[in-house]
Amino acid sequence: MKVLVKIRRRALIADPQGTAVGKGLRDLGYDVSDVRIDRSITLEVGGTDQALVRQAVTEMCERLLANPVMEDYDIELLE
């Protein structure tokens, strides 16, 4: 089953990369603020039981893919 995981820093955690990109966009003349750079990971997970796959991916997020100190994550089952 194909799964999309989106990982983003919590709002209160600084995102220097997003800040730098926002500055670049403003230098180009765009009216933008609060640019945040998230991470997306797609993975093919064995099994067809949606609940079990979601449970496994949640565990992957908690253990490795996200750092619970500073990041939140969303899991989307794609098929």
Partner: protein
């Protein structure tokens, strides 16, 4: 006293660490990250570099290298465990030290001497130093911006776990002396029992005045003096 210097794929400061530890009296040995038995060692050092390419997050994958179970066991047993730069990031990811290291606030890779002031001697990293002592040590990192929640930070300060802070040459912890945006100028900290410590600057690159500074030696000497015979 035998010290294991762990080598992950992408570690690049291991030889400096071994050399510096030996200069202050340790018997240091390189140990590959797939090793699962560190029982012959009294302490362990996670040196700098880019373990596992720093992919995902710095330290995120290294934290699950086979050797880390032994590092966690030694930490729990009270043995001295030190993380330098990338090693510090790995210890944070492993939960052996609190907080995270974010990219530097201005997104600059910093490679220069900085000053740090010893704010606690209650750790294996600083026990041989004097409180208030200012050390000039190279910083060499992109992700050294220590961050945690304000509440956790208050607790760390109350428990005397912040051992080194970025400072002026006279020891003032001003905003201007903070090179990377680290919360409250934190350059190094220890766990509650003081046996696990991490720092962003590189003491192993500051042990000979001929090469710029010998100020890092006192930190490594602290570590080596902390190696108790009980852990042999």
């Amino acid at each position: 006293m035998k010290v294991a210097v762990i080598v992950f794929p992408g570690t690049n400061c291991e030889h400096d660490a071994v050399y510096a530890l030996e200069q202050v009296g340790a018997d240091a040995t390189l140990v590959w990250h797939r090793e699962t038995d560190l029982s012959e060692f009294a302490g362990v050092v996670l040196p700098g570099g880019f373990a596992h390419g720093d992919y995902l997050r710095t330290g995120a994958i290294a934290r699950f290298s086979p050797v880390m179970a032994e590092v966690e066991r030694m930490a729990a047993d009270g043995a001295p465990v030190l993380g330098i730069c990338n090693g510090f990031q790995i210890l944070c990811e492993a939960g052996l030290l609190p907080g995270v290291l974010l990219p530097n606030v201005d997104l600059a890779f910093i490679c220069r001497y900085i000053d740090v002031v010893v704010t606690s001697t209650n750790s294996v990293l600083t026990r041989a130093a004097e409180p208030g002592q200012v050390l000039r040590i190279p910083l060499n990192s992109y992700e050294g911006n220590f961050t945690t929640s304000p509440r956790e930070m208050d607790r760390l300060e109350a428990d005397d776990q912040i051992v080194l802070r970025y400072s002026t040459p006279s020891g003032d912890t001003t905003d201007e002396a903070n090179p990377n945006g680290a919360m409250r100028n934190v350059a190094g900290l220890a766990n509650a029992t003081g046996n696990v410590a991490g720092l962003m600057p590189h003491p192993e690159r500051a042990i000979e005045s001929m090469l710029g500074s010998a100020d890092g030696a006192v930190l490594l000497r602290s570590f080596v003096e902390s190696l108790a015979p009980a852990h042999l």
